[in-house]
Amino acid sequence: MPVEPPVESPSSLAAAYRLLTGGLLRPIAGGTDVMVQITGELGEPPRRVLDLWHLDELRGIARDGDELVLGALTTYTELRRSRLVGEFLPELAEAAATIGAAQIQNRGTLGGNIANASPAGDSLPLLLATDATIVVGSARGERDVAAHDFWTGYRQTALAPDELIVRVRIPLANERQLRFRKIGTRRAQAISKVVMALAWRPASDGSWQDVRLALGSVAERPIRAWETEQILQGAEPSEETADRAVSSLAAEIHPIDDVRSTAAYRLAVATRVLHRLIRTEGGW
């Protein structure tokens, strides 16, 4: 049987913050990661747990002006079913549908995916590509962290020990185009071998502006491919652009061999997926 560490189940966010101020606690949301950690098979299990599941302050999906605001406890099922997400950010619903299967989607949360900080976290490249803001809170107040500043190393985040992820704000940029691709061993229940999100705004001259390219499973954390973005920025989606972008990307990412795939495969797939995305948009 797994260990059963002591757990606190506060009924308000303020009470949760007070508990975090009082000592180190491992937050649990939908449990899809923490409940595996208590088996002890992934290393030292958490010693004390803070249950967030009943904190309604961390739920809800709303549109606030030019932003979509998602509570940290928003589940993948809620993302798939949300009318607002379907209307304004369907790629996020598309990404949620590739995560696990019904059992995981009913429990796994956006905030949990962010906090778990896996390099393979499926929603994370989309947050990078959309310039999302991750709002974190503690008894000291709330602060905004840009998605590209949030994952600081292998399973490391910008969260202080007393902070929780409260919500995510995603700008709904006018005319933004967004694409999401996940490559895994099968369509469901697969941890990604490569996950990619590409955003741009098409200019009237056919060139791409405000380009964002983000990837998962190709580095120690989810990353923006800053140099490849510069190749694509201001360019048209031509075959020459695609070739140059792919050369750049191959030099910019550093995938590894592990139980799920090989560095060589991930490199080949990441570049192929990007090439195809550009080809599709260029119509050649």
Binding site: M1, P2, G31, M35, T77, Q103, A188, Q189
Partner: protein, 154 residues
């Protein structure tokens, strides 16, 4: 710590640690051993149960999070010794082989039937995508869910 919930319609009070897995509470504390443990990490779906109508892996749910919830396990499907439509369909189509995945498949199948989703093989496959059958008997499981859905919808 006391957790109050209903299991298969019956009120239950659990005096167990809040981080106990729902799976262990069902099997060890309540003696409901129909729910199986396969992988213990959310990959196989053998421990699937319904919590407030949603299919979940009970190995990934701590008891503290089901306070006030309604849990349905495979034991809650039959009524008065009579198999329900889905269970009967599994028997008719040969949807059960070795049996280890069957409780979870039945629960995932129930969630599909309750969802009102379009009745296609594709949608059924998606509904049971979180459930592994080690006998690889998926075709007859899909046939069973499809048969039950046709009967329930006519």
């Amino acid at each position: 710590m006391t957790t109050r919930l209903t299991v298969n319609g019956e009120p239950v009070e659990l005096e167990v640690p809040g981080m106990r897995r729902l799976l262990d509470a069902l099997r060890e504390d309540l003696g409901l051993t129909g729910t199986k443990e396969g992988c213990g990490e959310g990959e196989c779906g053998a421990c699937s149960v319904l919590v407030d109508g949603a299919v979940v892996d009970s190995c990934l749910v701590p008891v503290c999070q089901v306070d006030g919830a309604s849990v349905i396990t495979v034991e809650g499907l039959a009524r008065e010794e009579r198999l329900n439509a889905l269970q009967a369909a599994f028997l008719e189509t040969g949807g059960a082989q070795c049996g280890i995945c069957t409780p979870g498949m039945l629960i995932a199948g129930e969630a599909f039937l309750a969802s009102g989703a379009e009745l296609t093989d594709e949608r059924i496959r998606e509904a049971i995508a979180g459930n592994l059958c080690r006998c690889t008997g998926y075709t007859k499981i899909i046939d069973a869910i499809s048969l039950a859905a046709q009967r329930l919808r006519t």
